[in-house]
Amino acid sequence: MTAPLQYYLLLSAALFCVGLFGVLTRNNALIFLMSVELMLNAANVNFVAFSVYHGNLTGQLFALFVIALAAAEVAVGIGIFLVLYRNFGEVDVTVPTTMRW
């Protein structure tokens, strides 16, 4: 028996907010990326839950594609952080503040 839908949605919301807190708070670039991954996975949970609820596989397939895209995004993101490190000497996301007033 599957659990009622609300629990999965609550779980998804909680995961998302945890990831959000990480994005807002963490200084290290790699931890920042991990928090973004957490948010993406929260969305995946949401997709799968609704897929089971409606009996439609589209949701699960969509979640698969999200995972693949997340991987691609991380690859590019790491590359950007490498360049960032070369220019600023650190991987702290609060250090590069030149694009402002």
Binding site: L20, L24, F32, V93, T94, T97, T98, M99, R100, W101
Partner: protein
């Protein structure tokens, strides 16, 4: 009232010809043989012929009134340029164009032969001035008159400051412009007032504002919210401001002596015969308006009489030839104002005409002397020129006799009639009587300073080498002198009113001329006489003209005799030094110049500075304040863009929450 005579179809050309000469002299002057002189001579000659032709037409009993160009066709207020040729304006057109023509010819001798530079500018200025003055004379409404009044002042500035590279002429030109402009400010307010009160500025016709004012006064309607007499008086006095400035009456007379810095032909044309006449002509033009207000008339007369005496006293102690003539001009225009104020419309016009002739003659004569003396104007360096410059001497003498008012020269007849009119209307009015007394006293001074001038300049032994061997003058100088000399002698014949009163023959031609055709009944001397009697309460005492004439002639001769005793000697002394402190007062022009400078620096300048501070501080301050609010708020708000990514993410999330809440509340999710 369009005249049907063919002469009138050329009426606009009277003013337009000098305008064309202005353009020609300005653009092509440097290619022309005499620097543009021929253009202006031909133009003013043409204007003279057309004016004479128009005058002949008017003598035949027609009056010309035409609207030439409407530049504001609004229903409520139509503003236009128009021409009015009636007896008064036809007479003035002939006078102005004649003197302009003679002065242009004279300029050939004064400017061209003396090797002056910048002649195209000079002749262009003369052309522009002739255009403005003729258009002013022909104007049919007060706004057009005002515009050309101002333009004439501009030309005066241009021509006085002809030698602008020197400090004196440039400053004198500025002073002339500013002082007349000060008076013109009141005139402008008056013009606006006239339009506001009567809705029309016309001089002639059923819509003419003097006619409307007369109706308002007769019916007791209010003028500008005041009682009709008060309103009319206020408007008259406002217009009088411009007149006082332009005709150099006290207190705005200070510009005219300084204006002698300009070339002498300019002084002859503008500051003797035409531009300063504009003020007096304006009052004569709207005399139907002034005749309704006894207060305004009394003020006009008193100002005139006072100025006549004041200027005559100042002229007696001057050392430079043109300065004496300048103060003499101020004094004589005082006589004209006295005549107008005392109800002598014909007398004022007569004196205007004769004065134009003999004063222009005297200035041109002075110009001839100045050429001879190599531009040295000090009379104490002259002497003995009588034998060396006979034509100049005899014409100058004719002009001086006319100025002093000696029988039978023109000046006698006109000045005598002015004083007679003042006396007979002033028998019951103390103000007019006081003005008459001042005018009579000024006759003595006039005779004195005129002949002091003549004797110092022409009689006695030459006091310097230049006077011993003066430079000769040519026909272009002598010809205008002869013409004007003749006119100064015989012009009195056109209105020998005392002879008519005593002996009966109908020879007061000018009076008949100004009584004019019936088409413009409101503009005739007869109508003005009725207005003076009905509204201003002027009654003419029944005095024989013989006694006043004898008295004024006697006083004039006394002045001449005194000058003869003191100055017609081989080596005259500066007898005026015996007056001591009075001489200092007169020589310094009663300190009027210093007083006016004090008003400008002590009163007007601090006020202007306060206004400037208000403008910079308050008005500009408000604008700057608005911009500073924007700048300040911008500098604060931009700090949101910190450049830190996590801050941006926080703002994003905050926005998301806000949106969700908003949508939820309005969409009923939480309900």
């Amino acid at each position: 009232m369009a005249g049907e005579h063919i002469a009138f179809s050329f009426a606009p050309a009277i003013a337009a010809l000098p305008l064309v000469a202005f353009v020609v002299a300005l653009t092509f002057g440097r290619f022309m043989p005499k620097g543009g002189a021929f253009a202006t001579i031909l133009a003013t000659g043409g204007s003279l012929l057309l004016s004479i032709w128009a005058a002949v037409a008017v003598a035949g009993g027609e009056v010309y009134h035409e609207t030439l160009y409407v530049w504001s066709p609004a229903e409520a207020l139509e503003l236009h340029f128009g021409a009015l040729i009636d007896p008064l304006s036809a007479l003035m057109l002939v006078i102005v164009s004649l003197i302009a023509f003679l002065v242009q010819v004279f300029s050939l001798g004064y400017m061209n032969d003396e090797g002056e530079t910048g002649l195209p500018r000079y002749y262009a200025g003369m052309g522009l001035f002739s255009f403005s003055m003729l258009a002013f004379v022909m104007a049919d409404n007060v706004l057009m008159a005002f515009m050309f009044f101002e333009l004439v002042g501009l030309c005066s500035w241009l021509l006085i400051g002809f030698w602008f590279r020197e400090a004196g002429p440039a400053s004198a030109a500025k002073k002339a412009f500013l002082v007349t402009r000060f008076g013109d400010y009141f005139f402008l307010v008056g013009v606006v007032g006239i339009f506001a009160a009567f809705g029309s500025g016309l001089f002639v016709g059923d819509e003419a504002f003097p006619v409307l004012a007369e109706e308002a006064l007769a019916n007791g309607e209010s003028v500008l919210g005041f009682a009709p007499e008060t309103g009319i008086t206020i408007l008259s006095l406002l217009v009088l401001g411009g007149v006082i400035g332009k005709s150099a009456q006290f207190p705005l007379h200070t510009w005219l002596p300084d204006a002698m810095e300009g070339p002498t032909p300019v002084s002859a044309l503008i500051h003797a015969a035409t531009m300063v006449a504009a003020g007096v002509y304006l009052v004569a033009r709207i005399y139907g308006f002034y005749a309704l207000s006894p207060t305004a008339l009394a003020i006009v007369a008193f100002v005139g009489g006072f100025t006549a005496l004041l200027a005559a006293t100042m002229a007696t102690v001057k050392q430079e030839l043109k300065q004496v003539l300048a103060y003499s001009t101020i004094s004589q225009y005082g006589y004209m104002m006295l005549a107008l104020g005392a109800g002598g419309y014909v007398a004022a016009t007569f004196h205007l005409m004769t004065h134009a002739f003999f004063k222009a003659l005297l200035f041109l004569g002075a110009g001839s002397v100045i050429i001879a003396m190599h531009h040295n104007e000090n009379m104490w360096d002259m002497g003995g020129l009588k034998e060396r410059m006979p034509v100049t001497y005899w014409t100058f003498l004719a002009g001086s006799l006319a100025l002093a008012g000696i029988l039978p020269f023109a000046g006698f007849w006109s000045k005598d009639e002015v004083l007679y009119e003042a006396l007979i209307h002033g028998v019951n009015t103390p103000l007019l009587l006081a003005a008459y007394a001042m005018g009579l006293l000024a006759v003595f001074f006039t005779g004195f300073y005129t002949f002091r001038m003549v004797f110092l300049t022409f009689h006695g032994d030459p006091r310097t080498d230049t006077a011993e061997d003066p430079e000769g003058v040519r026909w272009n100088v002598k010809f205008p002198l002869v013409v004007l000399g003749t006119l100064a002698t015989v012009a009195g014949l056109i209105n020998m009113a005392p002879v008519k009163k005593l002996l009966g023959p109908d020879i007061d031609y000018l009076h008949q001329w100004l009584n004019g055709p019936e088409e413009a009944a409101a503009l005739t001397a007869h109508h003005y006489g009725d207005l003076l009697h009905d509204y201003a309460g002027y009654t003419a005492a029944d005095l024989s003209p013989l006694l006043p004439a004898v008295v004024s002639l006697g006083i004039a001769l006394a002045g001449v005799l005194l000058a003869y005793r003191l100055y017609a000697v081989p080596e005259p002394e500066q007898h005026t030094d015996r007056l001591g402190a009075i001489k200092t007062l007169w020589f310094n022009n009663y300190y009027q110049d210093e007083y006016q400078v004090w008003i400008a620096e002590g009163v007007a300048y601090p006020f202007a500075k306060a206004a400037d501070t208000f403008d910079q501080g308050v008005v500009d301050g408000v604008v700057d304040g608005v911009s500073s609010v924007s700048l300040f708020s911008g500098s604060r708000i931009k700090r949101i863009q910190t450049g830190i990514v996590t801050n941006y993410a926080a703002l994003l999330a905050l926005g998301l929450i806000g949106l969700l809440l908003l949508l939820g509340v309005t969409g009923g999710w939480f309900a």
